[in-house]
Amino acid sequence: MERLLNFLDLDGYGQFIWAAYGLTAFVLIGLAVQSLRFQARTDAELEALHASPETTKVERASNEAKE
């Protein structure tokens, strides 16, 4: 237990070090989550537009040809 405490304390500077690592984790993970959600949202929207009734058969065919 004592070793864990001193490990956390890092002789007095623990708070700054953990704050720095915590902040890095927060920013990087936040960026990853936001990017993944951004991609999922645009994928869903694109799917919805492709499948939507307004896109007539012709347009979808020409789109597939281009794809």
């Binding site: 890092l10 002789d11 007095g12 500077y13 623990g14 700054f16 070090i17 704050a19 720095a20 690592y21 902040l23 890095t24 920013v27 990087l28 960026l31 990853a32 990017s35 993944l36 951004f38 991609q39 949202r41 645009t42 994928d43 929207e45 694109l46 537009l49 492709h50 307004e54 896109t55 007539t56 347009e59 281009k66 794809e67």
Partner: protein, 265 residues
């Protein structure tokens, strides 16, 4: 018809430019989705190894004692901030010169990642400064130029979104990125000059003694982790940017599709 006598040497926008402009997004998407699993794998691996070395395996610095561990997070972030701006400027320059659609999207995807890394570099820098010099912010030459770099990123992102027509915003922002890249050495030189002019005596040089071998391994591991993280997020965001441009094209086409029958009848 076209009499052969005056066959014009016309501006030949040949097939290659045509191929670049259309097939490129789908070909680029296939390339990107091939890289993505590798990038995520390398990123997670090197992060784990880097964190282990940084927190447990490396010795505390004789002078800065434990706070040197913040360097393992701060220095790679500063490197990545510079690297992302270089990537941004290169993508924008190629977008301007060869009118690549994809280069615009790579640049637009890189900007927020670069801004996040710069913010990280500034935050961890000030967290490192507090125990070392007792103040959260020190007007050190490097920290100040990273702060100005952050404003350049902000300028790029804001200009990108400032226009109603997305392609207008992309072209304007790519010119700004190139102009910014030309200005960075001048800004660096003037901030260093300004720093030596108003040099308060008490500031300890940021990089301190030459980095000991045992500290180099976590630093390099974290640098690789950050770069692979950048490639992974870039892959995700570029795919999302290509989707948004397709969505916009489909919406515009729906407007014109519904418009044409109206006046043909």
């Amino acid at each position: 018809m076209l009499s052969q006598a005056i066959k014009p040497h016309a501006m030949q926008v040949k097939g290659s430019a045509k191929m670049h402009r259309f097939a490129n997004p789908t070909r680029f998407l296939r390339l990107v989705s091939a890289i993505k699993p590798w990038a995520t794998g390398v990123c997670l691996l090197t992060f784990a190894a880097g964190l282990y070395f940084a927190l447990f395996a490396s010795p505390p610095d004789y002078q800065q004692r434990e706070t040197v561990r913040i360097m393992y997070v701060h220095v790679p972030a500063a490197w990545m901030a510079m690297f992302c701006y270089a990537a941004l400027a290169a993508a924008s320059a190629s977008a301007l010169i060869w009118r690549h659609l994809v280069a615009d999207m790579v640049a637009r995807a890189t900007a927020p990642i670069g801004a996040a890394f710069t913010l990280l570099a500034l935050a961890t820098g000030s967290l490192w400064g507090k125990p070392m010099w007792g103040t959260w912010w020190v007007w050190d030459a490097r920290l100040t130029s990273v702060l100005i770099l952050f404003f350049l990123y902000l300028g790029y992102i804001v200009l990108n979104g400032a226009f109603d027509d997305a392609s207008r915003g992309a072209r304007a922002a790519s010119i700004l990125a190139v102009v910014g890249a030309i200005n960075i050495p001048i800004i660096k030189f003037s901030v260093d000059w300004w720093n030596t002019l108003h040099q308060p005596a008490s500031v300890v040089k940021l990089d301190g003694p030459a980095i000991h071998m045992s500290m180099l391994t976590p630093l390099l591991l974290m640098a690789i982790a950050y770069t692979s993280f950048y490639i992974w997020i870039l892959a995700i965001r570029v795919r999302a940017e290509i989707n948004t441009s397709k969505i916009r094209a489909l919406q515009i086409r729906r407007v014109t599709a519904s418009d044409v029958p109206w006046n043909d009848s």
